[in-house]
Subunit: 157 residues, 2 copies
């Protein structure tokens, strides 16, 4: 839960919804266990890499940054559908979405030492998909940006 | 070393070159420790995900696939420069490249059970960068594809 008492998206999902995912699953002890929450129309994820998430020198691995962007954006898209429908996070039916594509531009190195801030937004929504964007900051300096397209799954739940 | 006695790219690099990288570092015990080698003009990486690399259901996390694509393509680009210059892998000066951008399209789910095959190629090379592509296969079925742009570092070594 955030300081303002907001439940993190990942903690609201029922057990069917990725709770063991490497990037965002709350039950994956070997995973990144990212947490996302709303700050107005933006979804925030503050995440601290471990030393072994390095690329080379003292910088964070680009693939790990892509992983956090992907999972944070997926969680944001699902939370957005709940918000649009004015429903409590995690209630059934779950709006299921999976990643169709990820693109990430690494602008500068992102050091390992402090939490990295990921700021996601909804860019576009159609019947079949949601396009999200995400900016990445290390100490207020933007170091990367990404776009993730989520495809709606047609599974009843 | 491969069955044909070829040294994996990652095992040829000197200690300055990403040997602790999360994706490809041979010395990162918490990392993916991928291994890449040439098969003609293509670079191959066969990599077996662990159970905790899942997304949801029994499929591999998209961010982990992006991480392997990124690292495999980076290693391939560097190995390609050695090949072009007809030099032994790992000799000085090291042609240093870092990822500028990654894009990945997830076409179908990639299950966790067996090794995943990543096939990388050089698409384009200029003075400043190398563009690589990578196809991803699970049991001969293509499940994803990606493109990684590597930027040449101007560091003497």
């Amino acid at each position: 839960m955030t300081e303002e008492g907001q439940v993190y998206f990942q903690d609201a999902w029922p057990s069917e919804l990725g709770v063991e995912c490497f990037g965002c699953g709350r039950n994956n002890e070997n995973g990144l266990q990212i947490k996302s929450y709303w700050e107005g129309d933006e979804a925030i994820c503050e995440w601290q890499p471990k030393d072994y998430h390095k690329a080379f020198l003292r910088n964070t691995c680009g693939g790990i940054i892509a992983t956090v962007i992907d999972c944070h954006c997926t969680n944001t898209a699902i939370a957005y559908v709940y918000k649009l429908e004015n429903r409590k996070l995690g209630t059934k039916p779950i709006p299921l979405y999976v990643t169709g594509s990820i693109s990430v531009k690494l602008i500068k190195p992102t050091p390992l030492g402090r939490p990295i801030r990921f700021v996601a937004r909804i860019k576009e929504m159609t019947e079949r998909k949601i396009i999200t964007t995400c900016d990445v900051f290390y100490r207020k300096r933007k170091t990367a940006e990404g776009e993730v397209t989520l495809i709606k799954l047609k599974i009843q739940n």
